[in-house]
């Protein structure tokens, strides 16, 4: 769970047609508000999503007509979602200073592993998104680091 989690995610679970919106441990009202907009809800409906699950974190904006609200602590990071193979939209919180995590989201978006948006552009992203164009994220590998460390220390590798 990142303390300064300033990249928030929207995950889409195709089987159950649920859109999961999480803000981690932060306050990101502009995202919750953006997602609560009727145009976005309509777009999601048109694409076959029937439920919107919002984890609000420390936010104070309460979405309208909420029948099911889940408060999930310890939200997954971007990589947890990518590993699960779920389509992901990362909405960057420009309200936080030194938003270094947007670098990661932008880089992964450039490599087509996820979509990147801001609260203001979220509607446009959802209406124009082509989830089939997303490339699966190859799993990470820590063995190159281990090899270099072993080499430096003079350990023979099996």
């Amino acid at each position: 769970m990142r303390e300064n989690d300033d990249g928030q995610s929207k995950k889409k679970k195709k089987k159950k047609n649920v859109v999961f919106v999480t803000v981690g441990t932060t306050c990101f009202d502009s995202l919750v508000r953006a997602v609560d907009a009727p145009e976005i809800k309509q777009d999601l409906l048109n694409r076959g999503y029937t439920a919107l699950l919002i984890q609000m974190g420390r936010g104070s904006y309460i979405p309208t007509k909420v029948t099911f609200l889940s408060c999930i602590s310890g939200s997954g990071s971007i990589f947890e979602t990518l590993r699960l193979g779920k389509p992901l939209i990362v909405v960057v919180n420009e309200g936080l200073m030194d938003n270094h995590q947007s670098e990661l989201a932008e880089e992964l978006a450039e490599r087509k592993h996820l979509l990147c948006a801001r609260p203001q552009t979220l509607h446009q992203t959802i209406s124009t998104m082509n989830l089939e164009s997303l490339i699966p994220y190859p799993p990470g590998d820590a063995t190159p680091v281990a090899k270099l460390i072993n080499k430096y220390l003079g350990f023979l590798v099996d």
């Binding site: 990142r2 270094h100 990470g140 680091v145 270099l148 080499k151 430096y152 220390l153 350990f155």
Partner: protein, 225 residues
């Protein structure tokens, strides 16, 4: 009077020269692989940090040869509740794999005061960093690790500074490996920048090629997560 004064000046200059020469030697020697044949095993200090830092670090520990990097000492900030739990879970799973528990040295888990909390003003951070350094010194004297693994949380800076100091004065020669976090694509973190510029890390790893192009003494290793 002037003789004493001259003597004091000469002594100061001599001491300064010795220290600077020693530091240059330490930095030079650290940039090269260990010249000794690989030791049997090395005591390893693993620095954990909130959120992604710990996940990345444990990913790395998982692929290390456990009999070579032992005993393993995990250290996290005192306000960090999750990291040591996760490390403990990893170590517990390793014990299950091994049949002979007596062969393995037990892993240790420690806590350290934080230099700076997220969002803390840089002014008050000076004071808290000093306290953190004193606490780090106390812990490092006890642990004296041969290897340090860290990936960016503020807690690693005092520890690495002290490890470097130990190298210079000959208390313990440690190899410091720094892996910059995967979230750092174009710029280094503050911790990373410090340890890179001051040449305190023996080997500096980055997960994105852009960083390797920008900081030529780093090693590109791809994504860990």
């Amino acid at each position: 009077m002037t003789m004493v004064f001259t003597f004091a000046i000469t002594l100061t200059v001599a001491a300064f020269t010795v220290i600077v020469t020693r530091i240059i030697y330490v930095v030079y020697k650290s940039s090269k692989p260990l010249s000794k044949l690989g030791p049997q095993s090395v005591s390893t200090l693993i620095v954990l940090g909130s959120g992604g830092h710990t996940a990345e670090m444990l990913n790395l520990v998982a692929v290390l040869q456990k009999d070579k990097f032992t005993p393993r000492i995990y250290i996290a900030a005192s306000t960090d509740n999750m990291s040591l739990q996760k490390a403990s879970a990893l170590e517990a799973s390793l014990v299950d794999e091994r049949d002979d528990e007596t062969m393995s040295k037990k892993a240790l888990f420690m806590q350290i005061y934080r230099s700076r909390e997220v969002g803390q003003s840089y002014l008050t951070s000076i004071g808290t960093t000093l306290i953190a350094i004193i606490h780090a010194l106390w812990l490092m004297i006890k642990i004296r690790p041969q290897v340090i693994l860290c990936n960016g949380p503020g807690t690693c800076v005092p520890l690495c500074l002290i490890a470097f100091f130990f190298k210079v004065v000959g208390i313990r020669w440690s190899s410091i490996f720094y892996v910059e976090s995967i979230a750092r694509v174009r710029r280094l973190s503050l911790s990373g920048l410090l340890l890179y510029k001051l040449r305190i890390a023996d080997q500096f790893f980055v997960q994105w090629p852009q960083l390797q192009r920008k900081y030529r003494r780093t090693h590109f290793v791809g994504c860990l997560m």
